[in-house]
Symmetry: C2
Subunit: 330 residues, 2 copies
């Protein structure tokens, strides 16, 4: 029997319909194909990317993490924003920063198999880039995200993340922050703190706890095996994470990705850090977190037309699978 | 230079970034693979679907269009809706109607190649099903949509559409209707009427006009080659379309899909009818229309994280291609 769940923050409806997972499919997602593109992110091909913005080097002097401008940016630093309006239409020039963070020199060393210390260095790079970009008062929001695998929209497989600094707070984030503020005004608490507490007590959607961090399957999961990682204690800005906590975050992220990889055949996912706009003060109602959205199926007309999502694996079932590390039977 | 455009109805931002279309891609969308599933929608296999809800028959007595309940529904008619709330969470049972409209007995006769009269009969079936379902006062909204091709989330290739009757107005629609009402209160006119008029006059995003209908590439196209079909004269409810106009709508839809098929290699798309909630009175601010969203690329982390879209083919370029019927160089 399908169940309709409401996302407590965003107000979005999700339909949990496990029976639909058993329908026949002529079009199962194909496995990832071997690449024919010469990887521009591998060592020795540094001339194929824009110049290095910054890098971390090992004791041998070679780079371990490289940050470069995106060669095909969605947004560019020049010129300044300009609004024009004709008839019913309104536009701005695409001011912003679009960078690529090459996480490792090793072509196929993904986060689930990286050394925890190396993964911690990637997370520290995220923090440093946000702190650097927030010096520009025109940049209102910095989003860090990662597309892993073709079915999640990746165009290159070499492990990399992306950073986009934007001149406005993106729609999704402002709606999320408004939803969290509304929850705070009604219930007097942070909705993310309440979710973390509910899962740590009840446990049906708890995946794991690692020191100051918790990983849960969110109640209104839009995607099968959707997983959120968040600090248990309230914190509004990702870039203010205590440096001493970064190794635990790396350990949590590595373990979550490793279990997802074991449970989901041919795992592809989007990973997104949701955080408070960089110039906003410390906020009691909004709580940074990492959303990992596996892409087992294509989003189809129903979702595009309604704004609802259909998820064929309940978050309780996903969490149980990920707690035990067993294989999901699709 | 990327340009940020604001959707005049929904308020959503879209980044038009043609340069990004030229980035290297290890993971080009694979072609549709041959099916291994025995098609349950072909004649002679009627026992593999739930019973026929209604059908149109030819002069030979055989069915030409069949409507059946969805065997794997996202929503089901029983039991009545019920709200429960525990901690931060809220749910309802998935009350609703989910039907499949099998458009033709011919396994591979897609809309772009159907006889116009047969396509008109499919559109008339849409109208009749909405009129039938709106008799149930619990059904607030009826959405008709179609997923064509794997990359658009189809699970079976035999030409079929889907109908979902829902106990609430979906989020996407209520936001769209609110956006249109806001435009009306600010400018005193219907935003869709204004868009149709602007394109019919200016022509840069006009694809074609066929009698009472116009096809345009919307100003803030989220997807490459996104196409909207709408009546030129104001009309709020799709199911109130004059029967005499249905053949022209069929001709417009067939021509648009045929040109998309010629221009876009391996076309996959979602088609969605956007209309006013069934029990709402005639509305001056909301205008029914059909949105066709080709899926040339996967939606990735940037879109999921921001709620913005990145489109690498400007709607002006898409409209020019579709006006001339030439091939798009990807």
């Amino acid at each position: 029997m399908p169940e309709i769940r409401k996302d407590p923050v965003f107000g979005q409806w999700v339909i949990i319909a496990s029976e639909r997972g058993r329908r026949p499919n002529e079009f199962a997602l194909p496995p990832e194909a071997a690449s024919t593109v010469v990887c521009p992110f591998c060592p020795g091909r540094e001339d194929q990317t824009p110049p290095t913005v910054c890098q971390c080097s090992g004791s041998d002097g070679k780079w371990k993490i490289r940050v470069v401008s995106n060669k095909f940016p969605a947004l560019t630093p020049e010129p300044p924003p300009r609004c024009s309006e004709t008839g019913p239409y309104q536009s701005e020039e695409g001011l912003g920063i679009h960078e690529v963070i090459i996480e490792t020199p090793v072509h196929d060393l993904h986060m689930d198999r990286m050394d925890e210390a190396d993964l911690a260095a990637v997370l520290s790079t995220y923090v440093e880039r946000i702190r650097e970009l927030k010096k520009d008062p025109r940049i209102k929001y910095v989003m860090i995200f990662k597309n892993h695998g073709r079915n999640a929209g990746a165009s290159l497989s070499h492990p990399h993340s992306q950073l986009v600094g934007m001149p406005m707070v993106p729609t999704r984030l402002s709606q999320e922050i408004e939803g969290a503020a509304k929850y705070m005004s009604e219930k007097g608490s942070c909705v993310y703190c309440d979710m973390a507490a509910a899962e740590l007590e009840g446990g049906r959607r708890l995946i794991l706890r690692e020191g100051p961090f918790v990983a849960i399957a969110p109640y209104a999961s839009r995607f099968s095996f959707e997983t959120w990682i968040m600090p248990v204690a309230h914190a509004s800005h990702f870039e203010d994470i205590p440096p001493a906590d970064i190794p635990a975050l790396a350990a949590t992220l590595k373990e979550v990705l490793s279990r997802l990889n074991s449970s989901v055949e041919g795992l592809a996912y989007n990973l997104i850090i949701h955080t408070t706009p960089v110039h906003a003060p410390q906020a009691g109602h909004y709580h940074w977190h990492i959303e990992i959205m596996p892409k087992l199926a294509h989003v189809a007309g129903f979702e595009w037309g309604t704004g609802f999502y259909i998820n064929t694996v309940s978050p309780e079932e996903a969490a149980e699978t990920l707690r035990s590390g067993k294989k999901h039977k699709g």
